[in-house]
C-alpha cells in the first residue's frame, strides 16, 4: 500500500486537512448558500484550481527533464490581454466578446509556448535559461498591455471563468477537472505519456529507438503555456481585473513545488498527474491552514522552503546513500569504512 506513488502525497494532504480541524471545528463542513457550495474544502479547490493547471503543464515539461520558469509571466499576459479586450469592447458582457478575449489570450500563449519550445528543442538552450528570458521580459509585456494600470472589467460571462458557479460548484474547479481529465486522456490514452517518459528517462536510448524528441519537447512547452494562460484567465476573472505586476507572481515556484511534492522527479522520466494534483492541493491547503491558524499568510514561504528541501533531500540518491551508510555504519561500527580517505603514505 505504501508502495503506491500517491500514498505519501495523499497522507500529507490528509494530515494537513485534519490539522485544521483542531483549529476550526467546522473545517469539513460544506454548506449550500444561494445555491452555491461553500466551505473551507471548496475554497481550497477553488483557489487551488489555477495552481493545479499551471502545475499540470509543468509536470509534462519536467517529465522531459526540462523546466518552465515563464509560466508566471504567461499567467499575467493572458489575464492582461483578455481584460484589455473586454474593457475596450463595446459590449463587455456579451459572450462573443468573452470568447474572443479568451481566444486572444490562448493564441498569444501558443506563440509564447512555441518560442520556448523552439529555443529548447531546436536551438538547444538549457530549459532554465531559455524560459528565463520570457520570465524577465513577460512581466514587462504584461504591464505594457495593461499600460501599467490595473484593468478592471465588469463582464458577467468573463466573471464565470474564475469566480462563477455552475451546478453549485465553482466553475474554475470544473474547468480544472476537465483539463486534468483531458490531459490524462491525452497522455495515457495516446502514446504521448510513454514517449515523454522515455525521452526524459533516457534521451540516448530514446534516440536509438527512433523517437523524434524535438517535436515532443516543443509540444510540452506549448502545453505548459496554454495551461498557464487558462490559469491566468481564471485568476484575473476571479478578481475581475488584470494586474500585470502581481498576477501569477511566483506561481512558477509553487508549480515546481507541486510537481516535486507529487512525486515527479526533477531529473525527468516517470511523471504522475495525480501526484501533481495532490501536490498543488497540498500547497493550497498549506496556505489555507496558515491563514486559519492565524500566522501571517506571508510566512507560508518559510514552510514551503522546508517542504522543498525535504522532498528534494528524500529524492536525492546522494542523501539516501549517506543516510543508509550512516545507519549501517552505526550497526556495524566495528568494520572499517571502505571509502575512508587517509594519507597515501603508510
Amino acid at each position: 500500500m505504501t508502495k503506491h506513488r500517491l500514498f505519501w502525497p495523499a497522507v500529507v494532504l490528509a494530515v494537513l486537512l485534519l490539522a485544521n480541524l483542531a483549529f476550526t471545528p467546522d473545517f469539513f463542513a460544506i454548506r449550500i448558500k444561494d445555491g452555491h457550495l461553500y466551505g473551507s474544502l471548496i475554497d481550497i479547490l477553488h483557489f487551488g484550481a489555477p495552481l493545479v493547471l499551471v502545475a499540470l503543464g509543468m509536470t509534462l515539461v519536467i517529465a522531459t527533464g526540462g523546466i518552465d520558469l515563464s509560466v508566471g509571466s504567461t499567467v499575467a499576459i493572458a489575464g492582461a490581454l483578455a481584460c484589455l479586450h473586454i474593457s475596450e469592447a463595446a459590449d463587455p458582457a456579451s459572450p462573443g466578446t468573452v470568447v474572443a478575449s479568451v481566444a486572444i489570450a490562448l493564441a498569444v500563449a501558443l506563440v509564447l509556448g512555441v518560442a520556448n519550445g523552439v529555443l529548447v528543442a531546436r536551438v538547444g538552450v538549457q530549459p532554465i535559461i531559455a524560459t528565463l528570458i520570457l520570465m524577465v521580459a513577460g512581466r514587462g509585456v504584461a504591464q505594457l498591455v495593461t499600460g501599467g494600470q490595473i484593468i478592471t472589467v465588469t463582464s458577467g460571462p468573463y466573471r464565470l471563468i474564475g469566480g462563477g458557479y455552475w451546478l453549485a460548484v465553482p466553475f474554475a474547479v470544473l474547468l480544472a477537472v476537465v483539463v486534468v481529465l483531458l490531459t490524462a486522456l491525452l497522455t495515457r490514452r495516446t502514446a504521448l505519456g510513454l514517449l515523454l517518459e522515455s525521452v526524459g528517462g533516457n534521451p540516448v536510448a530514446s534516440r536509438l529507438v527512433g523517437i523524434r524528441a524535438s517535436g515532443l519537447i516543443a509540444l510540452v512547452y506549448v502545453f505548459s503555456a496554454l495551461c498557464a494562460a487558462v490559469a491566468g484567465l481564471m485568476i484575473s476573472s476571479n478578481v475581475s481585473s488584470a494586474d500585470g505586476n502581481n498576477a501569477g507572481l511566483w506561481i512558477e515556484l509553487d508549480a515546481i513545488l507541486a510537481v516535486v511534492v507529487g512525486g515527479t522527479s526533477l531529473t525527468g522520466g516517470r511523471f504522475s498527474l495525480g501526484g501533481t494534483v495532490l501536490g498543488a492541493l497540498i500547497i493550497q491547503a498549506l496556505s489555507t491552514t496558515i491563514y486559519t491558524i492565524g500566522i501571517p499568510p506571508e510566512t507560508t514561504l518559510v514552510f514551503k522552503a522546508f517542504v522543498v528541501i525535504t522532498v528534494c533531500l528524500i529524492q536525492s540518491p546522494a542523501f539516501r546513500a549517506k543516510a543508509v551508510r550512516r545507519r549501517s555504519s552505526a550497526t556495524r561500527s566495528a568494520r572499517p569504512r571502505p571509502l575512508k580517505t587517509e594519507e597515501a603514505e603508510a
Binding site: A137, L144, G148, V308, C312, L313, P317
Partner: protein, 328 residues
C-alpha cells in the same frame, strides 16, 4: 608541433566577443542618449548610474562567482531583502548599534550562502532548487520579522545615506559607490590572481577534470555560494542606505537583474568563461537602459524589463553560437 596559430588566435578572440558586443552597446547607448537628450552627456549622469546601481553591482559580482562554476543562485534578491529587514529591525526596534548590526547581517548572508553551497555539493541537488528554497526561506523570514516596511531614522544610517563624496569637476559619488568599487577590485584580484579564483574557473571548465587534477572541488563549490551570500547581504546593506528602510518586498526580481547583468557581461551560463569587468559593463548597460527610458519620458518603466529580456535573448543566442562551436 601541430598548433595552428591562426586558429588559436581566432579561438582566443571568440571568448571576448560578448564582452566586445557589450562595450559597443554601452558606447552606442550613451552616444544615442547624448545626441537625443540635453544634459545626458555629463559625468554626473554616468556617476548616477553607479550611485543608483551600487547594490546591484555588488550582488552581480557574487553571482559572477556562482555562474562561473556553472551554477546559479536564485536566492540573492531574497537575501538582499532579508538584510534590509534585519538591519532595520535590529536598529530601529531593538536599538542595536549599526556597527554591530552591519557585521552581523554580513555573517548571516554568508552563512546562508555557505549552507546552500553545502547542500548543493553534499547531496548533489540542482543549485536552482536549493537556492529556490533559500529564496522562499529568506523572504519568509522577512515577513516573520514584519509584514510592513520598517523605515530607518538612525543617524548613522541617514548620515551614510546623505553623504556625498565630492570629485573634481563638480561631480560626486555616494559612499556606496566606493564600497561597490572596492568589492569589484577585491573580487577581480580573487578571481584572476588567487588559487580560489583559478579553481572557480577550472570547476566551470570541467568539474570531472578538476576532481581528477586533485583540485579542492568541494571547498570551491561551497565557497562560491558563500561569496554570493556575502555579496547579497552587503548589497542588502547598501540598499538599506539607499532606501532607508527594511521591507520584505525590496529587491523583488533582483536575481533576474543580477543574472542578466552577468550574461550581458559575457559570462557563459555553462560556466568557465567570463570576466568580472564584463559584469560591471552588464550592470552599467542595465542602468543605462533605465536612465535612457527615464530621459525619454514617454516610455514607461516596463520597457526596461522588455529590453532586458530582449538583450538576454540576444546574448544567450550569442553564447549558444560560441559554446556550440566549442563543443562540436
Amino acid at each position: 608541433m601541430t598548433s595552428n596559430p591562426m586558429a588559436g588566435a581566432v579561438r582566443r578572440g571568440r571568448q571576448y566577443v560578448p564582452l566586445l558586443v557589450t562595450s559597443v552597446l554601452l558606447v552606442l547607448m550613451f552616444s544615442v542618449g547624448s545626441v537625443q537628450y540635453d544634459g545626458f552627456l555629463s559625468g554626473q549622469v554616468l556617476l548616477n548610474l553607479l550611485i543608483d546601481n551600487a547594490f546591484l553591482l555588488v550582488v552581480a559580482v557574487g553571482m559572477t562567482f556562482v555562474v562561473l562554476t556553472g551554477g546559479i543562485d536564485l536566492s540573492v534578491g531574497a537575501v538582499v531583502a532579508l538584510s534590509t529587514m534585519l538591519s532595520a529591525w535590529l536598529v530601529e526596534r531593538h536599538g542595536w548599534p549599526p556597527l554591530l548590526v552591519i557585521p552581523l547581517v554580513l555573517v548571516v548572508g554568508t552563512v546562508a550562502g555557505f549552507v546552500m553551497g553545502w547542500v548543493i555539493h553534499s547531496f548533489e541537488i540542482q543549485p536552482f532548487i536549493v537556492t529556490l528554497a533559500g529564496m522562499f526561506l529568506a523572504r519568509g523570514l522577512c515577513y516573520t520579522i514584519s509584514i510592513d516596511s520598517i523605515s530607518i531614522t538612525d543617524p548613522t544610517y541617514t548620515a551614510f545615506a546623505q553623504t556625498r563624496i565630492p570629485l573634481p569637476g563638480d561631480l560626486f559619488v555616494s559612499p556606496s559607490v566606493l564600497v561597490a568599487v572596492g568589492v569589484v577590485a577585491v573580487a577581480f584580484v580573487v578571481l584572476h590572481h588567487t588559487r580560489l579564483g583559478r579553481n572557480v574557473y577550472a570547476l566551470g571548465g570541467s568539474e570531472q577534470s578538476a576532481l581528477l587534477m586533485g583540485l579542492p572541488v568541494a571547498r570551491t563549490k561551497i565557497a562560491v555560494y558563500a561569496v554570493s551570500g556575502f555579496c547579497s547581504s552587503l548589497g542588502g546593506v547598501l540598499l538599506t542606505f539607499y532606501m532607508l528602510s527594511g521591507y520584505g518586498l525590496h529587491a523583488v526580481g533582483l536575481e533576474l537583474d543580477a543574472i542578466a547583468a552577468v550574461v550581458i557581461g559575457g559570462t557563459l551560463l555553462t560556466g568557465g568563461s567570463g570576466y568580472l569587468l564584463g559584469t560591471v559593463l552588464g550592470v552599467l548597460v542595465l542602468g543605462l537602459i533605465q536612465t535612457l527610458i527615464s530621459f525619454q519620458g514617454t516610455l514607461s518603466s516596463w520597457w526596461t524589463r522588455i529590453v532586458i529580456g530582449g538583450l538576454l535573448f540576444v546574448f544567450i543566442l550569442l553564447q549558444r553560437l560560441i559554446v556550440g562551436r566549442r563543443k562540436v
